[in-house]
Symmetry: C2
Subunit: 341 residues, 2 copies
DNA sequence: TTTGCGTACTTAATCGTTTTCGTAAGGTTA
DNA sequence: TAACCTTACGAAAACGATTAAGTACGCAAA
């Protein structure tokens, strides 16, 4: 490991001068600066992030807090994985690295998320796919470390949100426009911002459309649980007055619904229409292609990265934004035209 | 940020004693040790990883090298995401953190993967989902940093491999046992160990079974490319002597095949049988359920983590293993019984 | 009594940087 | 010529930890 000391020896200057030369400070002669840089390159020098971070209190490292429940973390959740992916690309382009934050630490017992973040000296943290009511998450979000959250907004903290209200409104309006009047919604677990917002939007939009929603058409399901979605769909199909269209909490669940529907010998969309949410790869490629809302995960990740880095680099000058990213309705062909033909 | 200095002041002992007390060295009085620990906890002390890493040359941090091609990295590839997920859980349980390695670094121009790993001082690196012929990857793998690779083996370096030979053999043998004699294989991109191994196993197994494989039944496809798989499947269906079963490179591709088959009004498995590979969530839940090989990603990640950490912690005593993890055949119902009934 | 030894601490160096404060040399200005 | 800047560099402290080496003390063995 060649250090500045080695370079200083090789160049016959002090370490201080080497440091200043490599960091392009003004008070180093042009000639010396060039020589130092040349030798440094020749010797294969590169800095030591620990030493630098220790001295400067800046790590060029960003923490990522994803749920770390065993056995599944956000990594296997394609919506979040995709956001993380674009977040990663964006921060790396600006010279930052990514380190996962968790609460394990063998040497010192448990560390809270905040402690762990400080232990690693991260410059900021991306919080996504967690229980936002977890006291430790709240503690981290309200600390002095810059933070950006996905799909949840803390007061005075950066957030990037996908526009669920508009998404559901677009979806429901589209389905309505195709002539459907009996529309069911199997939604995800309650208590999350996302779910509440979607349910509210469903009800609001229904009211705007003067669409009557039967109580049993609003079903409490689970996100991304295929078997459970089959079960829920089955119950809807068993109703004497069954819906003509079922809206699922996400594309995976829609697949579960499809399975159940097909198992009963019904076909989509002829006998019953369905819609999903998320715009996952498979949904876009299925037969029939699923009607769904594509969430622009690439944009969400990139904006989160840009805003967070701005906040890190110009704390005062960056305004705390809650950015809303709209999804795009994909018509597909899982919702059929009813009535008017 | 409360440091050891603060604790030493509060306890009236030297920093050295504080350090030794917190690290449970023997030469600190029991009483003093307890007092120091108590005060440290009260003051909310936790260590500074940079300082510690600087001094000890140990970061308790493991690098992860996933392809960082824009716009897709291994994070959106469910097979690798799932491996990374279990790897993460396993290393975190042992007190290690995970940092992504890449080749960007704003401050010092480009850094090679190896340089970046040393810059961050990681104790080891997980290499997966990359081009193993990339000189930089090779350089890193052959450096003095402990490394474990997934689905590729470097000489004298840890590796965890999924047993593709056995997987394909099991799959083909199963299909053969169901009476199929005209079996096509749409495989993934060549030049990777995985693909070559699978093709070889397909041919070897066919030979063992005395199964004649027509040349046009071995099709060069692409991994995880649904539209491309549809196209490839379509071409097979156009053959005058079409196969009775098509084996796809992966489950996603199988979905592409299903689409094409259904679009032609054929049904699975009555008119044509199919099989996938990977055992992804959807494959297991589809209708008809896909016949496929589940790759035990959870095991792969965990073994990789355990072996790497062993190598890090007991370099001499750990033997360099290439662990082979077997997949499990899932029968599903996408391959029908032919002939004998 | 002397020697030796274990215990419980402290001192001080060190890891690789960055940065403040000097300072010497040379040039300007009055 | 005296006073004052600039410019280019170096010395040294500091970041927060670890650790080898040293010291002082009490006590047991010879």
């Amino acid at each position: 490991m060649v250090s500045m000391k080695d370079i200083s020896a090789a160049c016959g200057v002090s370490v201080a001068t080497v440091s200043k030369a490599l960091n392009d400070h003004k008070d180093v002669g042009e000639e010396t600066k060039l020589k130092i840089k040349k030798i440094a390159k020749e010797m294969g020098y590169f800095p030591n992030s620990s030493a630098r971070a220790l001295k400067t209190n800046k790590s060029y490292n960003i923490g990522v807090l994803f749920v770390d429940e065993i056995p599944k973390s956000g990594l296997t959740h394609d919506y979040f994985a995709s956001i993380l992916d674009s977040f990663k690309v964006a921060v790396e382009a600006k010279g930052y690295d990514l380190t996962f934050i968790n609460s394990n630490n063998l040497r010192k017992g448990r560390l809270s998320y905040l402690e762990h973040s400080k232990f690693r000296g991260v410059d900021g943290v991306l919080i996504a796919c967690v229980d936002f009511h977890d006291p430790e998450v709240v503690e981290l979000a309200q600390s002095d470390i810059p933070v950006v959250t996905i799909d949840y907004a803390f007061k005075d903290r950066l957030a990037v949100l996908s526009d669920n209200t508009k998404g559901i409104r677009d979806l429901l309006t589209y389905i309505y426009s195709k002539g459907h009047r009996k529309i069911a919604y199997i939604h995800g677990q309650r208590k999350s911002r996302v779910t509440e917002e979607r349910i509210q939007s469903f009800l609001d939009t229904a009211k705007e459309l003067a669409l009557e929603v039967q109580e049993e058409f609003i079903v409490a399901g689970k996100y991304r649980d295929i078997p459970n979605a089959s079960k829920n769909a089955g119950e809807l199909l068993n109703l004497k007055d069954r819906p003509t269209c079922i809206l699922f909490s996400d594309d995976y669940s829609a697949i579960g619904g499809m399975n159940e529907i097909k198992a009963r010998g019904l076909s989509i969309p002829e006998d019953i229409s369905i819609a999903g949410y998320d715009g996952s790869d498979i949904a876009l490629q299925m037969e029939p292609q699923l009607t769904t809302i594509i969430q622009d995960t690439r944009m969400i990740g990139r904006i989160a990265a840009d805003n967070l880095i701005n906040m890190i680099e110009k704390p005062g000058k960056t305004e705390v934004e809650h950015v809303m990213i709209e999804g795009i309705l994909i018509e597909g062909n899982s919702v059929r035209q009813i009535g008017t033909n």
